[in-house]
Symmetry: none
DNA sequence: AAAATATTTTAGATTTGTCTAAATATTTTT
DNA sequence: AAAAATATTTAGACAAATCTAAAATATTTT
């Protein structure tokens, strides 16, 4: 089933406001979409007949199972495009959203699955938000290894899986420890090594083996 | 200035039918766009007020300078996306058009210029059609592939792009080589295969894949 | 529990892009 | 050059998505 750009934007906004658990009110959604409550009511009646949401007059509404599926699919498209724009076309993190708002409405499933593959099945977009896979599953983890962390996005080291002396030797040498703040600057395709930057110092690279063992999360503040 | 998807499709079709030299008729355009003549008239009035074309009642219409600029921009977007889909996402040549029809309407100039750069400023799309640069300039090569050569017009083979053994086997079999004179007699819509005639002998057909690799020019004399 | 206030829905209008059917203009045929 | 055929435009309608203003319903306050 395909939906219009407008229908997709309503679905997406409902999901962003409350997921599929809580009821959303007409005014809230009007505010979010920068439209009028009357327009919201009109569209909701339409989405109800399409069984994308549960809706009782004056009682607010909530996404149905099908509605959630549709929402996750739109979010998948949006975030994959954001990743592409940032990683491949070198847009800065603050420029990607607007363009992705347009690209997300191109509905070819094949396009999105191939794009996903081309990008290496990324798990998070440049803002650190998780990207649903082609079955709608998302990594809820806020912890990732450096290898999966988005480029140019602040990170804080939270864990090191391999505690061997050999690993610790490298960490000590590079002055990396729990709590260290860093950013990933570059992914090298050839050997999947990674360049990181700490405290605005000169970036340096680490091998994939090392990167896969260093876990990071969004910094506290 | 931004135009709606529908307006863009009209502009693009006019350009495809006649460029900006000849007048296009209402029925031709209705046929091309799979719509009704009345709808064409409606849209043309609108495009006239936007100064994208010259239009006199009952006299047909032609793109204005501004209209041509818009058309070339849409074609640029379309062909860059086709190149991307084919080169990066590994779509086959026959799958790219449909998806590009959607992507071409995403209007961010920055997106397209960065995509162009990322792709290495390609000059031709996967079908061999030239891609306008960001100033609207296209490689207007006097050399064309057999697929683009006009019907019943003398041509001389100037180049063969694919020099693989498999390609050369076909050329040898059909007795085609650099300098061979031929005429294109027919285009088959179904598989875009092409019928050619050499030395007034019995015409025979070649596939699109082969035709796209054989370049021709006007014979010397 | 009634009044006041806030929220939501309905009724009716508007814009864009499309359509059918009828009217008008142009071109071709006789 | 008139009739017939063809092409184009106009008139009026419709669906989608939106809006304003008014009515209906729900919630909060007194």
């Amino acid at each position: 089933m395909n939906y219009s750009t407008s229908e997709e934007n309503y679905i997406k906004s409902i999901y962003h406001l409350k997921g599929d658990v809580q009821n959303v009110t007409t005014n809230e959604l009007a505010e979010e979409l920068k439209t009028r409550p009357a327009s919201v009511t009109d569209m909701l009646k339409k989405l109800k007949t399409k069984k994308l949401l549960h809706y009782e007059k004056y009682q607010g509404f909530r996404l149905s199972a099908e509605g959630k599926k549709v929402a996750l699919n739109i979010i998948r498209r949006h975030r994959l495009w954001e990743f592409f724009l940032s990683e491949k076309l070198k847009f800065t993190w603050d420029e990607v959203h607007e363009v992705a708002e347009e690209l997300e409405h191109v509905t070819s499933k094949k396009l999105i699955d191939k794009l996903d593959e081309y990008l290496g099945f990324p798990k998070f977009d440049p803002h650190g938000d998780p990207i649903p896979d082609n079955k709608g599953k998302m990594h809820t983890a806020t912890h990732l290894t450096i290898s999966d962390w988005p480029l140019n996005t602040p990170a804080e080291v939270s864990k090191v899986s391999d505690q061997s002396n050999d690993m610790l030797e490298i960490l000590k040498h590079q002055q990396i420890s729990i709590g260290t703040r860093l950013e990933v600057k570059k992914h090298f395709v050839f050997d999947r090594s990674i360049e990181i930057e700490i405290n605005n110092a000169l970036p340096f690279s680490i091998s994939e083996q090392v990167a896969r063992n260093i876990w990071v999360k969004k910094p506290q503040s």
